[in-house]
């Protein structure tokens, strides 16, 4: 598991909620809000991603996340993924 894979899992869950979004154009630095996800969509995307990764965490831990990368980092830290992408 590395950050790229986590990013892809988030994108897979984004498709379900933001189906008309061109996923190829989504960058890790984009914010879910700017991509059209409202507050409910955002927590749902994060929750579905934690389930896919089999991580247990509180949604409050994501409250300061500014973009997708911040979410990826929080999920990565839960999985013990280091900056270099190694576990």
């Amino acid at each position: 598991m590395n950050k790229e894979k986590i990013f892809n899992i988030i994108k897979e869950n984004m498709v379900e909620l933001l189906f008309d979004l061109d996923m190829d154009s989504v960058k890790i630095t984009d914010s879910l809000r700017d991509l059209g996800a409202n507050s409910i969509d955002r927590v749902d995307i994060i929750m579905m991603s934690t389930e896919a990764l089999n991580i247990k965490c509180e949604m409050m831990e994501f409250k300061d996340a500014k973009n997708i990368e911040d979410i990826v980092d929080i999920l990565a830290s839960k999985l013990g993924v280091h900056e270099d992408g190694k576990v």
Binding site: D20, D41, V43, D44, M48, T50
Partner: protein, 424 residues
């Protein structure tokens, strides 16, 4: 008694087992088409008959394309916000878009804070709550955060008011099987008292959980007991072989507005609603009350300021339940007296099943279509009527000019409603 300005109907929409839009619904009404089927039981321990008038082959994404050109933004947003929702929400949203489009609300808009919305029904998310609990038992921590919004009936208000930019008065009305009429009646009051100029009345498709269905079966309310293997014959209001209601799936919507608003917008008027009544009979049980049904029909006639003899047609509550059917006939006979021989009677539930929360709206739509297009729909399963004196439409459609129709809806816990519709 005060005379109220008539409220007019300018848009109607439906997704039902016998038509996914108004034009196919009209054809099915004329042909007396019934689409009741039996599905295999989900679980061998569930003993209720899984029989119903289900909406089949409904592709939400595809159906919405029909409105893409005239309602571009609404369709785009509907796909984005409701594609992941329950099928019931998709069906109901489609019916709303059809009614909205027919009423010309996009091309000739009403100010956002002068538009209202009333959603008929209570416990609309029963089936979804049940299935979420199944997931919750396995993985409680992964429950969707949005479940806390989705389980509330007001979710419909949120989705639809956002979609149609409705910023006036909005609420849900619980009235059990009479919910649809209760919602229409509340819309009449909002319009008569000028709280809003235009009101969307929504009848969501009911999704029952196995728990609810089993309970309805155990209380003896569901039909298809002996006719389990002849599903098409199971829904037979007022026939001697009736044995309970048959679940019907339908999302329906009506756009109601003040006559001045419709005139100002220069939109065609489909019909009027001129009277209504809503009375309880103070009961915690499921039994109907002849006395209350008489009172509520009289109240509607009085409010419309017409005579009993002016009524040409009754769209009955007629659920196919033995006690309910006979009670309604007794109440109608009591009020109509000799005029009974002139009043045409049928039951739209005989074709679409009992659509629960949307039933009142489905039946108001059916009534106004029969008035507008001068026909009466048949009830093919009415072979041996429980009463020989009524003027049943019978087994074939009739071409009849009708001017005034009364539509009844009654519900558990002593809820009685009646509305009167008139040709535009």
């Amino acid at each position: 008694m005060e005379k109220y300005e008539p409220v007019v109907i300018t848009g109607i929409g439906i997704v039902s087992s016998i038509g996914h839009n108004i034009s196919s619904f009209i054809n099915s009404l004329k042909n007396g088409y019934v689409n009741v089927t039996q599905l295999p039981n989900i679980n061998e321990n569930f003993t209720y008959p899984r029989i119903g008038a289900y909406v089949k082959d409904f592709n939400y994404k595809e159906v919405l394309q029909r409105y893409k050109e005239e309602e571009t933004l609404i369709v785009q947003q509907a796909l984005r916000t409701t594609l992941r929702s329950t099928p019931a929400i998709g069906m109901t949203t489609t019916a709303c878009i059809e009614a909205w489009n027919m009423a010309g609300c996009t091309s000739k808009p009403v100010q956002a804070n002068r538009k209202g919305i009333i959603v008929a029904g209570n416990n609309l998310m029963d089936e979804m709550q049940y299935s979420t609990y199944e997931q919750f038992k396995d993985k409680p921590n992964y429950i969707s955060p949005s479940y806390c919004l989705q389980f509330m009936d007001t979710q419909y208000l949120g989705i639809l008011s956002e979609l149609f930019n409705i910023k006036g008065v909005g609420f849900t009305t619980g009235g059990a099987s009479a919910s649809g009429n209760v919602a229409i009646i509340q819309a009449l009051w909002l319009l008569r008292t000028k709280q809003v100029d235009c009101c969307m009345v929504v009848g969501p498709a009911a999704g029952f959980s196995p728990m609810t269905l089993q309970s309805l079966h155990n209380i003896g309310a569901i039909g298809g007991k002996t006719l389990r293997n002849e599903a098409q014959k199971a829904c037979r209001p007022f026939d001697k072989a009736h044995e309970g209601f048959i679940y019907g799936q339908a999302g329906a919507c009506m756009i109601l507005e003040n006559i001045e608003c419709a005139k100002e917008r220069k939109v065609p008027i489909l019909g009027r609603i001129i009277g209504s009544g809503q009375m309880l009979h103070a009961s915690r049980a499921s039994e109907p009350s002849e006395e209350a049904e008489i009172t509520v029909m009289k109240k509607a006639i009085e409010e419309a300021q017409i005579n009993v003899n002016d009524i040409d047609y009754i769209n009955t509550h007629g659920t196919s339940t033995p006690l309910g059917d006979i009670t309604e006939i007794k109440a109608i006979k009591n009020i109509m007296g000799d005029h009974c021989k002139n009043v045409w009677i049928n039951s739209t539930k005989g074709l679409v099943g009992h659509c629960m929360y949307s039933a009142g709206i489905v039946e108001a739509i059916s009534t106004i279509l029969q008035i507008k297009y001068a026909f009466l729909h048949p009830n093919l399963n009415l072979e041996n009527p429980i009463d020989e004196e009524m003027r049943w439409v019978g087994s074939t459609a009739r071409a009849e000019e009708i001017k005034v129709g009364l539509s009844n809806s009654f519900g558990f816990n002593g809820i009685n409603t009646s509305i009167i519709l008139e040709r535009a």
